[in-house]
């Protein structure tokens, strides 16, 4: 094969890679894959019957609750894998899996322990869910949950909640919820419900829901509140739900909020006496919104685009990357200059010298990409250093490098700290270029990209495979034309504050925001907070006074936001300088306390105890509880004032107690509290319900006629108590019929066909109503069947 033929073959492969997604089991969004039967989602096996999405955005803090119910159309129990791709800065805050009517909430555990418990439970056929985040170091936002078992012809209900701090750019806040599965897969919701509520202290305008499929109905739209909802049936999830709104501020502003309330000490904290003492310190958050109305520079732009063409970019990522390239190039004026480098294991430039952004050169650049190869691993430092080398050849003026990549280094230097340091050193000593980054995919190493851009006044953003790329690309283009707010710092007039972290990991630009969270030691009226920075040639100095309250639990999200910022800071530190035991211990502690997944923790929705909801009759008063092996004592607190320790039955691996329901206890549903102690002496509480039902349902039957002819159809109408779960009619020798509720007739109806060959005579029709406790009431009616 000649070199030309080889290139042609690679070119074809490249195009195929771009436009034909390769089948794989990477992260899907809200998809349950029946792993027992395959690696892909299949609606003929598991279909999405209900999806509820509840979004609350409270002053840029988004809290999203997702409920999904999947139906199993297969006869056997299945094991599944539930994948959910969060927004890149999203953080799981709750997770639950349902077993029949029992909600099993997720508990954050050390990851190794969670996986061990999961193994034990699945082998015992108990239903756990294990939610892990594969690589938060790399900024991964793909979560997966093992789900077992999904009952044959049954359904599986999953709940997930995450939070996200929405950035502000161009005085616009954007929110995106992943609804669309990765390309190549279809997901359809038999019922889709979306509720959206936006609250903002700063007036909001121009609220837009960028969605064609989900036509949300606006319920309320004021300057401080926006509410909308959507209900639909058989909705194809072909796009994400995107929302944007503008913040209406006249100039730059600094807003601050605080929170202080007694700290709840978790069982985990009690392992260490040093942590068991409640920390009374408060939390604060200060957010600067910059509106300096900086004008665009009119000087010619110099842009070098560094495009990742390694094999990890296959599929959607490459489609997005090429689309981004087209947009970047299209934004250039003919007076601007540009260059292009494709990098994988090596770095290949379009040209050794910068090119004017003429139509011809742009076409040449696009052809260069299409004629290129998708190949090998990702040598990030080599690409960056080559970019600096070629950017140095731009004329004097701003030199901008745009890297479009998933940025997961697999070749060359792999340690991210070294990559950041090498780039920083080379850039500061020579080119002094600004680096802009577009991270692609759920597994993009956003942390690395953010570190790279931070020291060179750049900007990084990222998109999921399924997300619309237009706005992030536009955001980068806007910022290339502007200076960023540099040398940002937080200061106060006293030493009351500590452990203050920026939660805006990107550099701030005019029209954007920058937020710090931290803690304060003691209540104080009118503490002065300041955020300073430099934009272009002038200094921005924003100050505000904040009452640091003795008690105020209004902004209850602050402890968690701070904890997340603290954990992110520790992770970054370890990412750059290696793991430390004390950091890991603190990360696990904070993650357990505030419920978020880290590389060291996982949610496991395995119940400490699994009290099967059961119907208890006075003659069957047994409470049975299944727990994992770590539990050594179980104690029940009954609502009628009795407390009982449960005994462990070794043979059945179950805790059991027989309780005596007082004779005066009326039929009904009651709550029972379980107190569990594990081998380490840690305590856990769970509340379960049980039903006492000592009465059979009341039954009344109504027949239009008791005399029929063979071949007729007998219509049976019956009313029974609400707790009836089975209502049927039978005649000896004939197939029983089930009576079901008719809204039109306002009664239960069943139709019993009388066979034509049924001999004439007298027969007995028996109608039976049975409740969940198997109490039965029945009625017998004599029928006369006449010959046809």
């Amino acid at each position: 094969m000649s070199k030309k033929q080889l290139y042609l073959a690679f070119a074809i492969m490249f195009i195929v890679a771009c436009y034909w997604p390769i089948s794989r089991s990477a992260a899907q969004s809200g998809v349950l894959i029946p792993t027992t039967l395959g690696t892909n989602p299949d609606k003929n096996i598991l279909s999405l019957s209900v999806m509820n999405v509840d979004i609350l955005i409270d002053n840029q803090h988004a809290r999203v609750k997702v409920l999904q119910i999947f139906d199993n159309h297969h006869a056997s129990n299945l094991e599944g894998k539930y994948n959910f791709a969060l927004p890149t800065k999203g953080s799981i805050s709750d997770f639950a899996i349902w077993e029949n009517s029992v909600r099993i909430p997720g508990v954050i555990m050390e990851r190794r322990r969670a996986e061990s418990v999961y193994g034990e439970l699945t082998s015992a056929k108990v239903d756990p869910g294990l939610l892990t985040q594969d690589d938060e170091h790399g900024g991964s936002s793909a979560f997966s949950v093992k789900v077992f078992p999904i009952p044959g012809y049954g359904s599986k209900r999953l709940e997930l909640e995450y939070t996200e701090i929405l950035p502000i750019e161009e005085l616009t806040s954007r929110f995106s919820f992943p609804l669309k599965p990765e390309a190549g897969y279809n997901q359809e919701a038999a019922e889709l419900n979306i509720h959206l509520l936006v609250l903002s202290k700063i007036p909001i305008t121009d609220t837009k829901i960028n969605s064609k499929n989900y036509n949300l109905k606006v319920l309320k739209s004021t300057v401080n509140e926006f509410e909308a909802s959507f209900q639909g049936s058989n909705i194809k999830l072909t796009e994400d739900l995107d929302l944007s709104y503008k913040l209406n501020v006249n100039g730059s502003e600094l807003d601050a909020i605080a929170y202080r309330a007694p700290e709840h000490i978790s069982a985990y904290d009690l392992r260490d006496p040093a942590l068991a003492k409640p920390n009374p310190d408060g939390y604060f958050q200060a957010t600067a919104v910059f509106n300096e109305q900086q004008s665009k520079t009119n000087v010619a732009r110099n842009e070098l685009i560094l495009l990742d063409t390694s094999l990890s970019m296959y599929g959607d990522k490459l489609v997005k990357a090429v689309s981004a390239l087209e947009q970047f190039l299209a934004s250039l004026e003919t007076t601007d200059r540009f260059n292009l480098i494709l990098f994988n294991e090596t770095a290949t430039p379009l040209n050794t010298e910068p090119l004017p952004a003429t139509k011809e050169n742009i076409a040449k650049a696009l052809a260069f990409v299409k004629d290129s190869m998708l190949y090998g691993g990702t040598n990030v430092p080599q690409g960056l250093l080559k970019a600096l080398e070629l950017a140095d050849r731009f004329p004097i003026g701003a030199r901008n490098i745009i890297i479009v990549s998933d940025a997961n280094p697999t070749v060359g230097e792999l340690k991210k700290a070294n990559i950041v340091e090498a780039f920083k050193r080379a850039n500061l000593s020579g080119t002094q270029a600004r680096l802009f980054a577009l991270g692609l995919g759920n597994d993009a190493a956003n942390n690395l990209l953010e570190q790279l851009v931070k020291d060179c006044n750049g900007f990084a953003t990222s998109v999921r495979e399924t997300e619309d790329i237009t706005l992030p690309v536009q955001s980068i283009i806007e910022k290339i034309n502007k200076s960023n707010v540099s040398k940002l710092s937080f200061s106060t007039n006293n030493s009351n504050f500590y452990q203050v972290y920026s939660i805006s990991e990107k550099n701030a630009f005019d029209g954007g925001s920058y937020t710090y969270v931290g803690r304060y030691k003691r209540p104080q009226p009118q503490a002065t907070l300041s955020i300073k920075g430099i934009l272009g040639n002038h200094e921005i100095d924003l100050s505000t006074n904040l009452d640091l309250p003795e008690f105020d639990d209004t902004h209850s999200q602050l402890p968690r936001v701070w904890a997340r910022a603290r954990v992110d800071a520790l992770l970054r530190e370890m990412d750059l300088n290696g793991e430390r035991e004390d950091y890991i211990a603190e990360i696990i502690r904070l993650a357990q306390k505030y419920k978020f997944v880290t590389p060291y923790t996982a949610f496991i929705a395995a119940p400490r105890a699994l009290l099967r909801p059961r119907l208890i009759q006075p003659g069957d008063p047994v409470l049975r509880v299944k727990t994992d092996d770590s539990v050594k004592e179980v104690f029940a607190v009954f609502p009628f004032g009795e407390t009982l320790p449960l005994k462990y039955l070794e043979d059945e691996k179950v805790w059991e107690a027989r309780f005596f329901a007082p004779a005066t206890l009326a039929d009904g549903t009651y709550k029972c509290r379980l107190l569990l102690t594990d081998k380490q002496g840690q305590g856990f509480q769970e509340e379960k319900s049980f039903v006492i039902d000592s009465h059979a349902p009341k039954l009344t039957v109504n027949l239009a006629s008791k005399v029929l002819h063979s071949g007729d159809e007998l219509t049976i109408k019956a009313n029974a108590d609400k707790d009836t779960i089975r209502l049927f009619a039978k005649v000896f020798g004939l197939k029983p019929v089930t009576l079901s509720w008719s809204a039109k007739e306002q009664t239960n109806i069943g139709k019993l066909p009388i066979p034509k060959d049924l001999p004439a005579g007298n027969y007995t029709l028996t109608v039976v109503a049975e409740d969940g406790a198997y109490n039965q009431a029945s009625q017998e009616i004599n029928l006369t069947i006449l010959p046809n």
Binding site: P262, P273, G619, G641, T643, E650, A663, Y774, Q776, A777
Partner: protein, 655 residues
């Protein structure tokens, strides 16, 4: 008389004016006070509760009770002796622990299950589980009940100087001034599920089972629950520590500053997380904490109050363990008795009665051919008593704990339990039948042996098992049983009857030949719980549908017109061919076969909930939720003549 000058006139006028104002002020004050008093009186009268007082008198001297007095709820000092309340009555002890006297419902109590004690106005006040408040003057008992108030247990009593405070589980907090009862409400609302009352200076602490802690002060009140930081809403102890309030719940200890109680900031901080905490007491230099299982912990006050410094002190293997502070001594009360806690050791307070029942809930009774009484406990195995009433042995293990039924046959003694069937030979060697023997369920409600067959019949939750060890077959709803949930078995000649959840099955030659249900008979409840053949009749007990008699011709006679729709407990039926005895939620019902006359026995029982019955030629043994009544057979002859003693004595209603 010298004329007054202007200055003097002005002074006199001012004095007059002030006098008038003062008089008017006093007048207004008096009127306001009177109006306030009237309003208070009216308000108080609204909360006044009608009560019923009854002086008790000893019942039939020939009846005796067998029960457990080990399950201790409270202790107090009265007239120089200790009085201990238990589920088995009230016991008087000398200061050295010598038992002086034991009181039961036969000797004056309104019931045996006692919950709380205190002394007030020179008398001993006693709370009961279901029968109101008792008062003892050292000689005789009187009882108070409230006909219009469902209190359930009197769960707490407190001597509050001029008044007696009475905490109830369902009827709120009551106040007794020696003459009348009134209910104390907070903002017009009833206080629910009170478990303990205590006070410290001006503060009254009201602990509840599931509704946190109330703190009542003269001018204000506060309510604390998990919303204010308590680890759980079941509060089991309160104590003050300097200026802090320490609250123990069954999930741990928390603390709050007393000065800030009631402020929105005053939230509790968790100090210690320990499940099943059951009480908290402050001793000299430490806190003493108990867990329900008898584990006692010490937490020195000289250290930080957290789990690290929690030191195990001593443990006794028991349940419902809790500390009581009395006369500067600490007492540990539990279901296994009473101890004094002294110098980190537990010392038993008194000699244990070896003939005590192992528990008071008696689910099965039988008498073997040696005349020994087999007592099956609801969850504590089996006690065996000699004919003279001495406990011979106690049998309990993982498989012989929850006893459903005891069947004494010439082929052996068969005990149906929730964990299989255990059979005993004459030497008490046991053998257990389980799923490995072909049973589909371990939960056996009852067993039955046919005289003409070697086969065992077992009523299980999966159907009727017929066979022997290793070879059981199952008769289920598929074969025609009304339900797979079977409870009782009986036979008349070769016909077997099986009680099920949804009707009665008649079986002949291994086949269901007929069923009796509400749809095809006069049964008005399908849940059949007990069967007893007498001659050629089968008596049938139902749960909530009364008692029936199955005639040889297949007709059912209902006793609902005579005795109503009784709830007959599982297998609580017995006959000596003269009487038929039926155990129900409302006492023992006795049917004289010759006269076809019914009587109810209730007062003479330790509890009106009768779970099991057996008898011999001389005595009838009635197992209840609170021990066993041993009644001579002639009691029923006398009883028949006097009708029921239920209404034999009438008390007085007070308003």
């Amino acid at each position: 008389m010298k004329a007054l000058n202007n200055k003097q006139k002005i002074i006199i006028l001012i004095v007059l004016l002030f006098t008038l104002i003062l008089v008017e002020f006093i007048h207004i004050h008096n009127r306001t006070s009177a109006a306030l008093l009237t309003a208070k009186t009216n308000l108080s009268e609204q909360n006044i509760i009608k009560y019923h007082k009854q002086d008790s008198s000893p019942l039939n001297q020939n009846i005796s009770f067998l029960n457990s007095t080990q399950e201790i709820s409270s202790i107090t000092l009265f007239q120089g002796n200790y009085f201990v309340a238990s589920k088995g009555g009230l016991t008087k002890y000398s200061p050295t622990g010598q038992q002086l006297k034991h009181y039961t419902s036969l000797t004056g109590l309104s019931e045996n299950d006692l919950t709380s004690l205190t002394t007030w106005a020179g008398k001993l006040f006693i709370g009961t589980r279901t029968q109101g408040l008792l008062v003892f003057d050292g000689e005789k008992f009187s009882s108070y009940s409230w006909p219009n108030l469902k209190t359930e247990a009197i769960s707490a009593l407190l001597n509050d100087n001029s008044r007696l405070l009475i905490g109830t589980f369902a009827g709120g907090l009551l106040e007794f001034d020696g003459e009348k009862f009134s209910e104390i409400k907070i903002d017009g609302n009833r206080l629910k599920a009170i478990t303990s009352l205590s006070h410290n200076q001006q503060r009254l602490f009201i602990q509840t089972f599931d509704n946190g802690l109330w703190v009542i002060e003269p001018t204000k009140h506060n309510h604390f629950t998990i919303n204010q930081g308590l680890p759980s809403n079941r509060v089991v102890g309160v104590t003050q520590l300097d200026n802090n309030l320490l609250v123990a719940t069954d999930f741990g200890l928390s603390i709050a500053n007393l000065d800030q109680l009631g402020n929105s900031q005053s939230l509790f901080q968790t100090l210690i997380t320990v499940p099943t905490v059951s009480s908290l007491v402050k001793s000299q230099n430490s806190l003493i904490i108990t867990q329900d299982n008898g584990q006692i912990w010490q937490l020195p006050l000289t250290t930080d109050l957290n789990n690290k410094y929690l030191k195990p002190l001593v443990k006794t293997d028991s349940n419902n363990a809790h500390l009581i502070e009395l006369e500067n001594k600490l007492w540990l009360a539990s279901n296994k008795g009473l101890w004094q806690l002294a110098t980190n050791k537990l010392e038993a307070f008194s000699q244990t009665n070896k003939d005590n029942l192992s528990s008071n809930i008696i689910s099965a009774l039988a008498i073997d051919n040696l005349g020994q009484l087999w007592v099956g406990h609801f969850r504590n195995g089996i006690d065996i008593y000699s004919p003279l009433g001495h406990k011979i042995t106690h049998l309990e293990n993982d498989y012989l704990r929850e006893i459903n039924h005891i069947d004494i046959t010439p082929k052996g003694i068969f005990v149906a339990t929730s964990q299989g069937l255990v059979s005993f030979d004459s030497k008490l060697h046991s053998q257990r039948l389980t799923k490995s023997d072909g049973l589909l369920s371990h939960n056996i409600s009852s067993s039955y042996t046919l005289p003409s067959s070697d086969n065992l019949l077992l009523a299980t939750t999966k159907g009727l098992a017929i066979g022997k060890a290793g070879k059981f077959s199952l008769l289920t709803a598929i074969q025609g049983l009304p339900s797979n949930n079977t409870y009782s078995i009986s036979s008349i000649e070769n016909t077997i009857y099986v009680a099920t959840l949804t009707g009665l099955a008649q079986i002949s030659n291994g086949k269901v030949i007929r069923t009796y249900k509400d749809a095809n008979s006069s049964l008005n409840s399908n849940w059949i719980t007990a069967l007893q053949p007498v001659n050629n009749y089968l008596f049938i007990g139902t749960y909530g549908g009364g008692v029936y008699q199955l005639m040889p011709n297949g007709q059912l006679r209902s006793f609902v017109p005579e005795i109503g729709r009784l709830a007959v407990n599982l297998n609580a039926i017995f006959s000596d061919n003269k009487y038929l005895y039926i155990g129900t939620l409302t006492g023992l019902w006795v049917y004289e076969l010759a006269t076809q006359h019914w009587n109810q026995v209730k007062l003479e029982l330790p509890s009106s909930n009768v779970l099991s019955i057996t008898g011999n030629n001389n005595y009838l043994y009635i197992g209840t939720t609170n021990g066993i009544a041993k009644m001579p057979k002639d009691f029923f002859n006398q009883h028949n003549q006097t009708e029921s003693t239920l209404e034999s004595t009438q008390g007085q209603i007070y308003e």
